[in-house]
Every structure is written in C-alpha cells, then in structure tokens.
Point group: C2
Chain length 107, copies 2
Amino acid sequence: MKNATGLFFDAFANRNRFNILMQLRNRDMCAGDIQQTLGIEQTNLSHDLKCLLNCKFISVRKDGRKRIYRINNETKNLVDEVGKHVKNYETYLKKCGILKEEKNGRV
Amino acid sequence: MKNATGLFFDAFANRNRFNILMQLRNRDMCAGDIQQTLGIEQTNLSHDLKCLLNCKFISVRKDGRKRIYRINNETKNLVDEVGKHVKNYETYLKKCGILKEEKNGRV
DNA sequence: TGATTATATGAAATTTTTATCATATATAAA
DNA sequence: TTTATATATGATAAAAATTTCATATAATCA
C-alpha cells in the first residue's frame, strides 16, 4: 500500500501532468488548447486531466461542449517553488550521471 | 533528451531518495544509520546517495571510515513545502482512482 | 600485512509507469 | 435526429525505472 507522499509524486511529478500544470499557471484552458500547446495525445491528456482533477490540483467548468480547466492556487505556488529549485540546480542535475537524459522533454 | 524538470523529479520524487531527504531533515546521518532507519538495501542506498550528492541536494563529510550526509537548506525547505501539500491533499490523493496504491510505502 | 567494516560500482533482471489502441459518451449544430 | 466535435474509459503494449546480484574499493584495526 503506497502512502500519500508516493501518490502525490505519482500525480505531480509525472511529465505530462506537470507540463499541464505549468501551462495552466498562465491561463485557464480547455483540453483542446492544452493538447495543441503540449502535443499530448488525446486519450493520454484525458487520463491526465482526470487524475489532476481527482487530486484537486485543478478544477473544471463547462462552456458549451468544452471543459475549461483551472489550476488551484496552492498547487500553482508549489509549481513555482519547484521551478525555482530546478533553475538553481539545473547544472548539477544535468551532470548527475545517474539520472538518464534520454526521452523527449517537458515544456 | 530529458530536460531539467524531468531530471529534477527523477532525483527528488523517487521513493527511497525522498525518504532519505526526509530523514536528513532531522539530523545528519551516515549511510549505515539511514540503512537501518529506512531499511533500504545497501547497494540501492549507495546508488541513491550518490545521485543526491551529484545533484547537490545533500553534502558529505568523512568521519573515520564512515561518511556523514547532510541535506542542504534549500532542499530541506522544498521537502517541507511538499510535506504540507501532501498533508492538505492526502484525502483526494487516496481516492484518485487513477494513481495506484500498491507497493510498500514511504516513511 | 591481513582482516574487517563501511560504502561504491556496473550490468542484468524485475517491476512499475506511461503510451497506445479500440471504443464510448456527451453536447451542440445542421 | 443525424452528424460532428470534444472529451472519456479500460485493456494491453511499450518504455522506463528500480532492484538485485556479483564484485570492488577505502579506511581502520589487530
């Protein structure tokens, strides 16, 4: 049985999901907009949005046949904190040697 | 090529490595102490400590044939921020439905 | 010096996570 | 009321991460 911290990181530290949170930091967006901006495949995006919603990291409202997603404030702040840390440690992360640098990047 | 955010989460959001950071938040410890406290297998612990060192999330000093590890201050703060968020969202994380709760937990 | 304790290394095996695929539903417009 | 658009669901395939295994090194002590 995984504990709350494990579940938290599974939700938050996932590449696509964190990218979505970073986008929503700027403005509310519907799924289609996020899809276009990040290039995430439709079904993956839908899975990811549901996860973020269930965890209450984001909320949603309806507008016609679209659904508009918004990041909550606490989560936005944490995204910012992480952003700072990444910036400060970027150099070391890149030459860690244990972490692998393959794959396509986050935004 | 994975970017800095991806590398950051690989280092920081890993179960064993985050548990190590949580322990070091309380006091400096040598590998043996961490091993006993967290029950991480020796070679895994060594891999994890090297990763955290290379990323500069922790530092090390020698004491006889032991090595004493210490968390840096910025990283300690981020660990605390994450802790708060986990606490606030724990209920939702546990009933997310997409995140899986198997496996053994973090401390 | 040789033995012992503490920690490190690298490759292979296992497990877990993430993406893909086929398909479903919900709302609105024609 | 049929069609098109927007988004959701669940099972499996593919990719990546973590653990295990065999072994190495480094410092101290007898």
